[in-house]
């Protein structure tokens, strides 16, 4: 090596040796749970570009602003016109803004997992105390949390605005809580789908395209079929068709149980029985996403 760091000093009673050579580490080693928490917070920050380059902050921050601005405008209108209710339900907000949410998942899911896979950083994690389950849980939780922040922040804006406009506290609080449950489910569902797709497409560009394709094509197909079913008068089929795309799935769940008006054509939401199926399918997809990620990472282990 070019530079020798150890000070060569003659030993003796009066001589002090200033050893600036290698220092050992005797401090605490905080283990698995700490590593998992660190990975979670690093991934969550990364999902908004924090701790990364300026360039990678642009898109997530922009999408966050785009998510919140309509809510702010609605609130301003509601306050100014002294409206009796908000122009849009809490539960409806995410459905209306689904394109923004899809774009966010498509951009952040690949950056969260594809980099580690593509640059083969994964073995460095698994040669440490952290294990496959820790890695998958940290990444899943981080993206779901990031999505929750993205979808819950405008609801919070709406809620605060509603209170400022003095629109019945109890009613608003109940609807706000229902909205939060709905976007929490949506965050888990979208994070699972996005991560699974990103984890099998190590090239980031393909990952982005694949996530967008899956989310928009499934929604396009499902809403077209629903419209056809509606036009032909077979309204009974509409909720069942809704099972096949993530956003209509969430719509079904919240129309059945969270007091939302359905965005399905004709406003036909699922009945309670059909709603239970929607909930089960949602939870099933979330569990399947987690399972698939575990399998994927057990394979790439080392």
């Amino acid at each position: 090596m070019a530079v020798e760091h150890r000070a060569a000093a003659p030993s003796g009673d009066q001589t002090r040796i200033h050893n600036i050579g290698y220092r050992t580490y005797d401090g605490p080693r905080l283990g698995r749970a700490y590593a998992r928490r660190s990975l979670y917070s690093q991934s969550l920050r990364g999902a908004y570009g924090l701790g990364r380059s300026v360039k990678s902050k642009v898109l997530p921050m922009l999408l966050f602003v785009v998510m919140c601005v309509p809510a702010a405008i609605m609130v301003a209108v509601a306050v100014a016109t002294k409206a009796k209710d908000l122009p849009l339900d809490y539960t409806r907000y995410a459905i209306v803004m689904q394109a923004v949410i899809s774009l966010y998942v498509a951009s952040q899911a690949p950056q969260s997992v594809s980099r580690d896979l593509r640059f083969k950083t994964v073995p460095l994690y698994f040669s440490r105390p952290i294990e496959t389950a820790d890695y998958v849980r940290a990444k899943y939780a981080a993206l779901a949390s990031a999505l929750f922040i993205l979808t819950a922040a405008p609801l919070a804006v709406l809620y605060v605005g509603a209170l400022l406009a003095k629109l019945g506290f109890a009613h608003q609080t109940k609807e706000f809580a229902q909205g939060l449950v709905s976007v929490a489910l949506l965050s888990l569902l979208f994070a699972g789908i996005g991560l699974v797709i990103a984890a099998v497409t190590p090239r980031r560009g393909f990952g982005i395209a694949a996530v967008i394709a899956v989310l928009t094509i499934s929604y396009g197909a499902v809403s077209t079929l629903q419209a056809i079913a509606d036009a032909q008068g077979s309204t009974g089929a509409i909720p069942w068709i809704g099972l096949f795309s993530p956003i209509t799935l969430i719509d079904g769940v919240q129309s059945a149980f969270l007091g939302a008006t359905s965005a399905y054509p004709g406003g036909v939401g699922p009945s309670s029985g059909e709603g239970v199926v929607h909930v089960l399918v949602t939870l099933g997809v979330i569990a399947a996403g987690y399972g698939l990620l575990m399998r994927r990472y057990q394979k790439v282990g080392l």
Partner: protein
């Protein structure tokens, strides 16, 4: 440090390790074998990431089958392949890896700065890794394996892709990991020659079987070879030939001149049987009136020991007796 007992790893089609029993003590140990000899499989098992088909192994006194997490907290691992994201700086990356090893944030930053300095990365550590040379990348890979101050590091082919100068620097660094940092090293390579200067002990595997395990001193000092170079004079236009003939006449065994090395024709290699060989050479050269340019001890290269394995081993045993 490491002990394995008839460790086997069988995949459906291949046997990667076949009843491997080996003991590795503190210091720098080389694990040598051709590609596919089972080196990487062994490291995976030792990290507790892949169960052995049969047999058992211990690292730092901990059983790999049950204490994998505890082992991984105390060892470092530098993979053979590229593993660095190009868009972050070395500092950010190594800090993150230190935290993944369980170091608290402040300690992670401090250890990262120290470790990167020790592996020889200075100002460049704040730049994105994508712009680094291969040598610098290898140093970052080494730094992330050392950042949590492990008791033992596994270095998988650390000299891969380096030019001769970079190779020497990396080998020097590996040596320092043990001598200065007090961390034991298991380093794999498919090049025997590299490990001679660096390792205290060499384990050779082939086809998943243990071929040999012994200290490098055993390899290279079982015999002493003298290299001699002399001047030519008017009476003896070919001084080398004259000395060879004279020594041959006195019953000293002359080896073939050092193979294809530059100036090989002018260097005589002979086996020293003791002090008297040195005196004899001095006297012979003086009697011929030639100048003695060089008389030095040559250590055998490990590769010589392994070349024609069986024959050499017999020879080594012969010398031992």
């Amino acid at each position: 440090m490491i002990a394995t007992e008839s460790l086997s790893k069988r995949f459906p089609r291949v046997t990667a390790l076949d009843r491997l029993s080996v003991d590795v003590g503190p210091g720098v140990t080389g694990l040598v074998g051709a590609n596919g000899a089972g080196k990487s499989t062994l490291i995976k098992i030792l990290l507790g990431l892949s169960p052995a088909t049969e047999g058992r192994a211990e690292v730092l006194g901990l059983d790999v089958a049950t204490k994998g997490a505890a082992i991984r907290e105390r060892v470092g691992y530098m993979p053979e392949h590229d593993c660095l994201p190009p868009d972050v700086s070395a500092t950010e990356f190594v800090v993150h890896m230190a935290r993944m090893s369980g170091l608290p944030p402040a300690a992670a930053r401090e250890r990262t700065a120290d470790t990167l300095r020790h592996v020889g990365l200075y100002e460049e550590r704040y730049r994105p890794i994508g712009g680094y040379s291969t040598g610098m990348k290898q140093r970052v890979k080494l730094a992330q394996a050392l950042v949590h101050d492990p008791q033992l590091v596994f270095l998988d082919e650390p000299t891969n892709g380096l030019d001769p100068v970079g190779r020497d620097e990396m080998l020097g660094l590996i040596r320092r990991v043990h001598t200065d940092f007090g961390i034991s090293v298991l380093v794999t390579s498919h090049l025997l020659g590299e490990l001679e200067r660096t390792c205290d002990h060499v384990v050779v595997v082939d086809g998943g079987k243990l071929l040999r395990s012994s200290s490098t001193r055993d390899f290279t000092q079982s015999t002493t070879t003298l290299a001699i170079e002399v001047t030519d004079s008017d009476t003896h236009p070919d001084g080398t030939r004259a000395v060879r003939d004279a020594l041959h006449a006195r019953g000293v065994d002359i080896h073939d001149e050092g193979g294809g090395l530059p100036g090989a024709g002018h260097i005589l290699l002979l086996t020293a049987s003791g002090e008297e060989t040195y005196d004899l050479v001095r006297d012979v050269v003086a009697d011929l009136g030639l100048g003695l340019v060089r008389m030095e001890q040559r250590r055998h290269h490990i590769s010589e020991v392994f070349r024609d394995g069986d024959e050499q081993r017999k020879e080594a045993v012969g010398h031992g007796g």
